[in-house]
């Protein structure tokens, strides 16, 4: 065989197009939809139920407590019995909560999903916030909160959220010790009734199911569907400046730098995502290259754009040796200034373009990834066409446009900066 030249990289094949597969969409009521992805080549299945039950609703820890109580049972059937039934069916249950919503996810083999959904429906419907279960949950959560207070990353994220959402008290409120005092089951019960039993906002189904089964799901959960459409806050403004949380015994300091920004609905969103990638969203990013791979200050540093219903935010996050805290902030500022002052070299931008197209291809691979892509657009009333726009944006972006966005959105004196350590 001919000796190959190992110095030369193999030729590359560009990604021509990406197949985005549309799920089927059904109306439960005019505001609540069921989204169904049936192209699943194996026996797995997942059903997600979304509720208008986020932490901006209810006082103190109410939303979070109720989310944790959903399978806590009642006098007739205990939480243990519910778990036992679920395990017999080989099912898994997860619940999660954000500021603007709550979601429960049920995972099972296809054959067990019908029985599992019946169990989940019955258990949640009949949940009654028993004093015993409430007390146990509150104590457990209090202990977890106390453990979290020992983590610099938790302290930093908490302070960051508080200052980032400062203009909107419902979003800016952070967990305090007194959240765990005098929790009243009756208030939880009311929240549960208003926001779960009448708060379903969306259902997502993945699995090789028949249409009949999808109809059954609609019949089963339809009575929980929320009638009025949801309204969410807008016009956020972060409180700028440097906020330091003291934790004198910490070996590392956690750092957060960011500001209020936009979501997918904004015309600059796609191009900004490319800038975000350059800054800190892949292994070869400016921040990783400088702060990890050149200086060795950290195990990792990254940036992201988080999205809400009517806005978004940009954030840089890292944990660094405490002796590198100031030097790291200086380097973050330096890298942002450099993006404003100098054009990104075309070669660097070409790598990022190829990388992002490859990642988009991957994020459309398989039914679970595909429905997540769909849902991420659907939440803003957008279709999968959004991702064709992303491809176009990646192909057409120029160094000049990157610089323009860096100047427009990344001014250092608009940032909320938090350190904990």
């Amino acid at each position: 065989m001919r000796q190959m030249d190992r110095y030369i990289a193999p030729p590359l094949n560009p990604i021509e197009s990406i197949d985005f597969i549309n799920p089927k969409v059904f109306d439960i009521n005019p505001n609540v939809k069921l989204i169904f992805m049936s192209e699943v080549p194996n026996e797995t299945s997942r059903v997600d139920l979304y509720f208008d039950a986020g932490t901006i609703k209810g006082e103190k820890g109410t939303a979070s407590f109720v989310n944790g109580l959903l399978l806590s049972g009642n006098e007739e059937i205990s939480s243990t019995q519910i778990s036992h039934q679920m395990d017999l069916l080989g099912g898994f249950f997860e619940s999660g909560i954000t500021s603007e919503g709550a979601v429960i996810s049920v995972y099972a083999l296809r054959e067990n999903m019908p029985a599992l959904l019946q169990l989940i429906k019955k258990s949640i419907s009949e949940m009654n916030c028993s004093a015993k279960e409430v007390e146990e949950l509150v104590q457990d959560k209090k202990q977890r909160f106390q453990v979290n207070l020992q983590k610099t990353r938790f302290l930093a994220q908490r302070a960051f959220q508080h200052n980032l959402f400062f203009s909107h008290p419902d979003y800016a409120k952070v967990v305090e010790e007194d959240y765990y005092e005098n929790v009243e089951p009756i208030k939880l019960k009311r929240f549960f009734n208003d926001n779960y039993l009448h708060g379903l906002t969306k259902v997502a189904v993945v699995g090789n199911f028949s249409q009949d089964f999808v109809d059954e799901i609609i019949d089963l959960f339809g009575e929980w569907a929320k009638e009025p459409s949801c309204e969410y806050a807008r016009d956020f403004k972060n409180r700028v400046g440097l906020y330091a949380v003291e934790k004198s015994d910490a070996m590392q300091a956690a750092i957060r730098v960011g500001k209020i920004l936009f979501n997918k609905t904004h015309p600059d969103y796609n191009d900004f995502q490319i800038l975000n990638t350059i800054i800190g969203d892949y292994f070869g990013s400016r921040l990783m290259t400088n702060i990890r791979e050149d200086k060795g200050y950290t195990y990792g540093i990254g940036s992201m754009v988080a999205e809400f219903n009517n806005f978004g935010y940009f954030m840089i996050a890292t944990e660094v040796g405490k002796e590198f805290k100031d030097a790291t902030l200086k380097e973050i500022k330096y890298e942002i200034n450099r993006l404003q002052a100098e054009l990104v070299p075309q070669r660097e931008l070409d790598v990022i373009k190829n990388y992002l197209l490859g990642q988009l291809l991957k994020s459309a691979d398989g039914p679970y990834s595909m429905i997540d892509l769909y849902l991420n657009a659907e939440i803003h009333d957008m279709s999968l066409e959004f991702y064709n726009e992303s491809i176009k944006s990646i192909r057409e972006i120029t160094p000049e446009r990157i610089q323009e966005l860096a100047k427009k959105y990344l001014s250092w004196d608009e940032m909320t900066i938090v350190t904990a350590g």
Binding site: G284, E319, G358
Partner: protein
């Protein structure tokens, strides 16, 4: 069922190919038969530090990541006590880029003193981030040397201490590479929408010329059978008391490994498991409790860990725990309990095998154990486990003389009422 083909190159490289006609992506997974257990006791943390250096450039290619990113792909790796695994996921049209990069770093590394210097610092920050700057983060650094007398599992993958990482030299790293990074010490798995002939041709093209080297014979200290209860109490600035009961269990290839795994599920995998129900829900002694196995290739650990409720003391808790696990030796589990275990395992396996990367990594791992097809035989093994098997294994494993207990006492407990 995960289908695969297997072939071996003249230089000893074992290759697996898993065909998936539905995906536009390809996976190139390389498993090296080297982990922290292969380290010298006075130079620990090396296998993992070395994994970092594998991204610092190879003999013909100055930078690993950029060419892969340019091909639309991404890469990462992990190190355990047993093995080191490197993976690349990229669009299938560009699979050659991954093969070019991976084969070149199997051929020879070319990292600089600067890269060693920086990665030492990065790993030290990783050490702090994961083990030292977290509440309860250092328990495994304490538990391992307590549970193991002589086997190299007595140190963590990250290393015994930061000093070992600080002291690593260029020469150390070169010796490590020479000994462990060569075709006969690796399993390569290619997954994606390809044909076998195409894969054979590509693998031969990129890996065929890498010189063969004899596989290193592993001679590890054999852990003697434990005969006494071992315990240690440490004091930390944490909000709640915590416990770690570690029971020695058979090695990965022992058929009993699976029975112990099932036993650990019965003890504390889910909210309907014995420990969770009895000690948390009914007796209210702990705020969290779980049981799991470490999954090691050599003699491993079944671990029961969790946190006490504020105000509960260790004496009461330990008495209740030993009574609860004693029941497994005294009487059979119910049929329902057995059905639950198997059904949960079945669902988990089906979900895990959904991902292309997981399939490639699992095939490689089982091939390293002896036969890639092992991944397809697991479920049947679990299904054949009887309540009698569980009772027998519980009698032998869940006893004090086979147990190491680490207690973490909250130094500032009184402030948390």
């Amino acid at each position: 069922m995960i289908d695969f083909e297997r072939f071996t190159l003249k230089n000893g490289l074992r290759v697996l190919f898993h065909q998936d006609l539905t995906t536009p992506m390809a996976v190139v997974n390389t498993l090296y038969d080297v982990g922290a257990r292969d380290e010298n006791e006075n130079k620990t943390g090396f296998a993992h530090l070395f994994e970092h250096l594998m991204f610092g450039g190879s003999i013909h290619i100055p930078d690993f990541d950029a060419p892969l990113q340019n091909a639309g792909g991404e890469s990462n790796a992990f190190t355990s006590n047993d093995l080191t695994n490197y993976y690349n996921v990229l669009p299938k049209e560009n699979i050659e880029t991954a093969l070019w990069l991976e084969s070149d770093r199997m051929l020879s590394l070319a990292f600089t003193p600067k890269s060693l210097e920086v990665q030492r610092n990065v790993v030290i920050e990783e050490f702090k981030q994961r083990y030292l700057n977290q509440p309860y983060g250092d328990v495994w650094l304490e538990l391992r040397p307590l549970a193991y007398e002589v086997h190299p599992y007595k140190w963590a993958t990250i290393g015994k201490n930061i000093q070992h990482i600080q002291d690593a030299t260029m020469e150390d790293v070169r010796v490590f590479f020479k000994k462990h990074y060569h075709p006969a010490n690796a399993v390569l798995c290619i997954a994606g929408n390809f044909e076998l002939e195409e894969v054979k041709m590509l693998v031969e093209k990129y890996y065929g010329e890498i010189p063969a080297q004899e596989k290193n014979v592993r001679m590890l200290n054999k852990e003697p059978e434990q005969t006494i209860f071992k315990e240690k109490t440490i004091y930390r600035k944490v909000p709640a008391d915590a416990f770690y009961f570690a029971f020695k269990m058979p090695e990965r290839k022992n058929p009993e490994y699976y029975i112990v795994d099932a036993l650990s599920d019965a003890l504390g995998r889910e909210k309907s498991s014995r420990l969770f129900v009895e000690l948390k829900k009914e007796k209210k002694l702990c705020s969290e409790i779980q049981a799991y196995i470490t999954g090691n290739t050599d003699v491993g650990l079944l671990v029961i860990s969790g946190k006490l409720h504020n105000g509960v003391n260790f004496t009461d808790f330990e008495k209740a725990l030993w009574a609860c696990i004693g029941d497994f030796s005294k009487s059979f589990m119910s049929d329902d309990e057995m059905i639950k275990l198997v059904n949960k395992i079945r669902t988990s396996k089906e979900f895990q095998e959904q991902g292309l990367l997981n399939r490639a990594m699992n095939l490689s791992f089982f091939e390293l154990l002896g036969d890639a097809n092992g991944i397809n035989e697991e479920l049947e093994i679990y299904q054949k486990i009887t309540v009698h098997d569980i009772q027998e294994i519980a009698k032998r494993i869940l006893k004090q003389t086979n147990c190491t207990l680490l207690r973490v006492i909250a130094d500032n407990n009184e402030t948390n009422g």
